[in-house]
């Protein structure tokens, strides 16, 4: 496996560091934890199940990976009631109908040659495969990802919002990477897509699906990482303000709120403060712009008494 000069862990460590560096170049700041998951997923050929609070960059990770691998991102947004016809494939019913109408004369001539009902059905039957061929197939995200010639990054977003049935159906796809369509046959992909599943934990994902994945939990970033993210996304921000606003948001997350401010909201807030030409955090401007960070009136009300002291702490 490895010789003494280049132990496997050094090679692995190098790969992980280079992943981290390339992601940073693309504007996605990640820690070694996330880079390790990408490395393992690629080496083991397994999907990554990404869990964590909303707005920590789960979906962004898939986008950054697609950018890094230079492969198209195919996204499947899950929702209650999502079924195979929306996720896998569908027959283009309208096109089938239209074609049979347009080709009515042709069909008539075929049928007219037959003298009995039985033989006309037989002669029609020999043609109906045409209407169930790939020309009339509408590929949905899963089929697109599997069928992709050059490989792809498949993002199955918010899997916790789909039903148990859909999860069971995914198991089959994710273990074989092939799809059987009764009228056409089995379609097997040439290149395995890199698969991300994300979950906001509104329900526990089944063990069977978890077993097939690498499990990555992305928590809210620590202040150091969050400052790096702000610096990368809002480069024009003043260094003092950047430090203060990140410290403020970090402390705000310690309060008992309905919905904690996410990283994307910190970025929005930073952009807003830069636009408003703010240099340092002041209670007045914070109160005026707090609705960018907190999306429930009850959260805004309950945090109000704490604002002044949080700003004081953030400025230290």
């Amino acid at each position: 496996m490895s010789d003494n000069k280049t132990p496997s862990n050094v090679l692995a460590k190098d790969s992980i560091e280079s992943i981290q560096a390339s992601f940073e170049e693309k504007g996605y700041i990640c820690n070694t934890h996330i880079a390790t998951a990408i490395f393992l997923s690629q080496s083991l050929g397994k999907p990554i199940l990404v869990e964590g609070p909303p707005g920590v960059g789960k979906t962004e990770l898939a986008k950054a990976t697609s950018d890094w691998m230079q492969k198209p991102l195919i996204r499947l947004q899950c929702y209650e009631g999502l079924d195979e016809s929306k996720a896998l494939y569908e027959w283009k019913y309208g096109k089938q109908l239209l074609y049979t109408q347009v080709l009515k004369d042709k069909l008539n001539s075929i049928v007219s040659k037959a003298d009995t009902l039985e033989s006309s059905i037989d002669s029609l039957d020999s043609f109906d495969d045409i209407f169930f061929s790939e020309k009339f197939l509408e590929p949905r995200p899963l089929l697109k990802a599997i069928n992709s010639e050059e490989g792809s990054v498949l993002l199955i977003d918010e899997i916790d919002k789909s039903d148990d049935e859909f999860e069971a159906f995914l198991l089959e796809i994710l273990s074989d990477y092939q799809i059987s369509i009764p009228e056409i046959g089995t379609i097997k992909g040439k290149v395995k897509p890199m698969v991300f599943l994300t979950s906001n934990n509104t329900r526990e994902i089944g063990d069977a699906l978890k077993r097939r994945c690498i499990h990555l939990y992305i928590p809210f970033p620590d202040s150091h990482l969050e400052e790096k993210i702000i610096h990368s996304r809002v480069p024009e921000i003043h260094q003092d303000l950047q430090r203060q606003l990140v410290a403020f948001v970090q402390n705000l997350r310690n309060l008992d709120l309905k919905k904690l401010p996410s990283v994307s909201e910190t970025i929005d807030w930073a952009r807003a403060l830069v636009l408003l030409n703010v240099k340092i955090l002041e209670p007045e401007i914070v109160r005026e712009t707090l609705n960018i960070l907190l999306k429930f009136q009850s959260d805004i009300d309950s945090s109000d008494p704490e604002i002044d002291s949080i700003i004081e702490t953030a400025k230290k």
């Binding site: 496997s8 862990n9 692995a12 393992l40 083991l44 063990d207 499990h215 939990y217």
Partner: protein, 95 residues
């Protein structure tokens, strides 16, 4: 090298973390991929392969730290012997 992994997985299972045979094989592949010299990297990688929710990750970290304190010297000895390493990998293929 993989003896330690077998023991470790046994400890995890008895600490109420569900680990399938397929996941044990993944863990072996992870160890042969990254080695065992870099402890944080090993911890991170095995956690992502074996512990599948936050509760399991906490238990995992506890077990990992304890296990490595007690066994690190033995593991390092085993991994420095290339013959054992190869033999272990051959065994793994027989699964």
């Amino acid at each position: 090298m993989l003896d330690f992994l077998r023991d470790f997985i046994h400890i995890l299972r008895s600490s109420d973390i569900k680990i399938s045979t397929a996941e044990s094989i993944d863990a072996m592949r992870v160890v042969s991929l990254i080695g065992i010299d870099d402890k944080p990297l090993l911890q991170d990688s095995l956690s992502q392969t074996l512990a599948k929710n936050l509760r399991e990750k906490e238990i995992f970290d506890e077990c990992f730290n304890k296990f490595f304190e007690e066994n690190y010297m033995n593991i390092a000895d085993e991994s420095n012997n290339p013959d054992i390493k190869q033999a272990d990998l051959d065994n793994q293929r027989e699964f």
